[in-house]
């Protein structure tokens, strides 16, 4: 028994050496495993943000009274908005059509007259083609105007001793700086690991099937499990290095705080890397065709991880069926883990539950790959 176990580990070691050589011979693999994660996290970490900067607002002052000037003075103070005074509404509309303005704020001609009567309007027009961007800008403009409004009411209230009013004081937990980078960077780690893991392995089994070299392996004493193990180990190491670099970049380059423990973070990440590798191996051994495998990996890993994992869109806002699909994806569980461990701390019931889900996925995917590899042997 011991000698057979020794033989088995010797065989796995030999196979790992073979895989490693194959992996190192083709530089594109190393590019994918090592350079890609760091390049991507840099590009996306700096490039992707929902935080509006310098939104260009065309300001149409049809009323040039001091009251109107007082209202818009608040706009210039906002660090998110860069107002530009334009001459007429037509001018502003042209700017919007030429994509030189993201929004129009219009103070109508009768503003001060109607303000005296107690009911004045301000028009805010946004470029709705990018709906979320438009909405963010709209809320910045409204905030700036509401600030003025509150000041006004405060002044009048003090003068007349009239009724008070409610002021909302928002406090953002886990993301006090209110920067989207803090939640986008953990999401990027998920996407990058999904890709690196699934793509590195998606073709390896299919290639062996396609070239017939797998059958050559079958006539040797190696078992299917040993082949799969040997395929996993080298790519796991490559993926792990990429993973660690991504985490370091998140922590030290982008300043994402790590409130949870490093141990929990690593446990979750290693589990998810196994899931991603298992997904790749599974696709590879089910399709047995490099071309089909590549298309499946492309469609099954990248886009769903981007759209349905909670990275861009919150699952809580989706219709139940679509959110259900999201909850089938392992990426969703890893993302929840990452966001919580980075931003809020160790919350063990959730960590254990999600890690268990990931472990289950890893086992099921590997078992499926194993089954498909063994079947052909018989």
């Amino acid at each position: 028994m011991t000698s057979s176990r020794g033989a088995s580990s010797r065989r796995v070691a030999a196979l790992v050496r073979k895989e490693l050589r194959q992996l190192l011979r083709d530089r594109s693999n190393l590019l994918m495993g090592l350079a890609l994660p760091i390049v991507l996290i840099l590009l996306f970490g700096y490039g992707m943000t929902f935080d509006v900067r310098d939104a260009r607002v065309a300001l149409v002052m049809e009323d040039r009274s001091p009251e109107a000037a007082d209202v818009v003075a608040g706009l210039a103070l906002s660090r998110h908005i860069t107002p530009t005074l334009v001459n007429s509404m037509r001018d502003a509309e042209r700017r919007m059509a030429d994509r030189k303005a993201d929004a129009i704020v219009r103070i109508p001609q009768d503003f001060s007259r109607r303000l005296a009567a107690g009911k004045a309007d301000i028009q805010v027009l946004t470029y709705g083609v990018d709906a979320n961007h438009a909405r963010t800008i709209q809320s910045y403009v409204e905030q700036a105007l509401a600030l003025w409004q509150a000041r006004q009411a405060d002044r009048r209230g003090a003068a007349h001793g009239a009724a008070g009013f409610v002021v909302l004081e928002p406090r953002l937990w886990f993301n006090a700086a209110n920067t989207s980078t803090w939640f986008l960077v953990p999401g990027l780690i998920v996407i990058i690991i999904t890709l690196v893991g699934a793509f590195l392995t998606a073709l390896v089994m299919a290639r062996e099937w396609e070239r017939g070299t797998l059958e050559a392996l079958f006539v040797t004493p190696v078992r299917p499990m040993e082949i799969l193990l040997a395929k996993t180990i080298p790519y796991f190491c490559v993926g792990l290095i990429g993973l660690l670099m991504s985490i370091l970049a998140a922590r030290f380059l982008f300043g994402v705080p790590l409130h949870g423990s490093l141990g929990a973070l690593l446990l979750a990440s290693v589990l998810y890397l196994l899931v991603a590798l298992g997904l790749g191996l599974c696709i590879s051994s089910v399709t047995r065709n490099q071309f089909v495998a590549s298309q499946v990996a492309l469609l099954a890993s990248f886009m769903p991880a981007l759209m349905l994992s909670g990275f861009l869109f919150d699952l809580r806002n989706m219709p139940a069926v679509v959110a259900g699909v999201g909850h089938v994806l392992p990426a969703t569980y890893y993302l929840e883990l990452l966001k919580s461990i980075f931003l809020s701390g160790d919350f063990w019931p959730m960590i254990l539950r999600n890690c268990a889900v990931l472990l289950l996925y890893a086992i099921v995917l590997m078992a499926l790959a194993h089954r498909r590899t063994r079947k052909h042997l018989e």
Binding site: S28, G47, L172, L308, F313
Partner: protein
């Protein structure tokens, strides 16, 4: 004339062969249609930032009529759903940590007194900002509700309501629906995935299987071979775009403001630029594995830095310059402006010219790379 005719015949037969390779396998055929259809449906539903019955918890330390009225307004608004009523401040952390509630509304014990004595009465809003977009949207919606409450409160207590009203309108997308933004962007983005990878893999596959050498000893010129590789991929891309367009237009009922001709003209130009990129990758790689890895290394940044996920205007300036190399950036802008705005081609020169330039660089580059790899 005869030579032209012969040229066309040869190109046509090559295109036929490539199409046959792509379409002969039922698994392949399904792969070109089903995922695009399924994903455009799923993503159309997923692409929303609108809060749907956001869970919240209430901590009311005042319990006066004003506080109750404020909370009632929240419950009646339809956008929020109370999942817990807390007793003291120590209860706040657990509800937020476990994601049981998106936010806690904390009304202090002095609320009613402050309100009646004519002071500003602060209400604390504690938001789970692990997803800062969701948190921001919740804060904005709540601000609207509080504003209405103030208006009514002031009116009822003899004071004048706040004098200025803000009237907002979003152009080209009256309900500010993210789905409109996303579905139209996907017309270009989703089809790019397979157009690019199909082209990148097609030559690599022939190389790996050794059939490329056979192709080279035939009377076909390299240009003809290239056209033969381009056209089928472009057809696939256009067909996929059409599927997404139909899902958006017929299923999600997003009204199309512009002309179909302008849209298809732009899409054709875009796929040409993409196919050029794909061919260049193909020329650089000797195995399918390599071709796919390179294609993917390219697809990720093309997708994520195109304005599809986050607006380009938010990026740091150097990054914005970098996106000028991205054909998808122009394609998404084109589709948005033609589909939602109804812009005519004259207004879109700023997007069309860069796409022409990209196509004019990548296609000859691919041809050059082919010739030099072969020697």
């Amino acid at each position: 004339m005869d030579t032209l005719l012969a040229f066309l015949r040869r190109v046509l037969s090559l295109c036929g062969k490539e199409l046959l390779i792509i379409l002969k396998d039922p698994a392949n055929r399904a792969l070109l249609v089903v995922p695009v259809l399924l994903e455009s449906l799923l993503f159309g539903y997923a692409a929303t930032y609108d809060l749907k019955h956001a869970a919240y918890a209430l901590l009311d330390e005042d319990k006066g009529p004003a506080a109750v009225a404020l909370a009632a307004r929240l419950d009646a608004s339809g956008g929020f759903r109370r999942v817990a009523t807390l007793r003291n401040e120590t209860d706040i952390a657990p509800v937020i940590d476990t994601q049981q509630a998106l936010f806690v509304l904390h009304i202090g014990p002095e609320f009613e007194k402050q309100l009646r004595s004519g002071q500003p009465a602060p209400v604390q809003l504690i938001l789970d900002a692990r997803n800062s977009t969701t948190a921001g949207n919740a804060a904005t919606q709540l601000a609207g509700i509080v504003e209405q409450f103030n208006d009514d409160w002031l009116a009822r207590n003899g004071a004048r309501a706040l004098p200025v009203q803000i009237i907002s309108r979003a152009w080209y997308n009256p309900t500010s629906d993210t789905r409109w933004t996303m579905m139209t962007a996907l017309i270009a983005a989703l089809s790019m995935l397979q157009t690019l990878s199909l082209t990148a893999l097609s030559v690599a596959r022939e190389r790996e299987q050794g059939t490329f050498d056979q192709l080279l000893v035939t009377p076909y010129t390299p240009t003809e071979i290239m056209i033969g590789k381009c056209v089928p991929s472009m057809l696939v891309g256009i067909a996929q775009s059409t599927i997404i367009l139909l899902v958006g237009n017929l299923w999600f009922k997003i009204p199309m403001a512009g002309s179909a001709w302008a849209l298809y003209g732009s899409l054709l130009l875009f796929t040409l630029a993409v196919v050029g990129l794909g061919l260049a990758i193909s020329a650089l790689s000797s195995t399918m594995q390599q071709a796919m890895l390179y294609a993917f290394v390219l697809i990720m940044p093309l997708m994520l830095l195109s304005g599809l996920a986050t607006p380009i205007a938010n990026m740091p300036q150097p990054m914005q310059w970098l996106t000028m190399l991205n054909p998808l950036r122009y394609a998404i802008d084109l589709v948005h402006r033609i589909y939602l705005e109804g812009a005519d081609l004259g207004a879109l020169v700023g997007d069309i010219v860069p796409l022409v330039i990209i196509a004019c660089i990548t296609l000859p580059l691919a041809a050059w790379l082919f010739r030099h790899r072969l020697e």
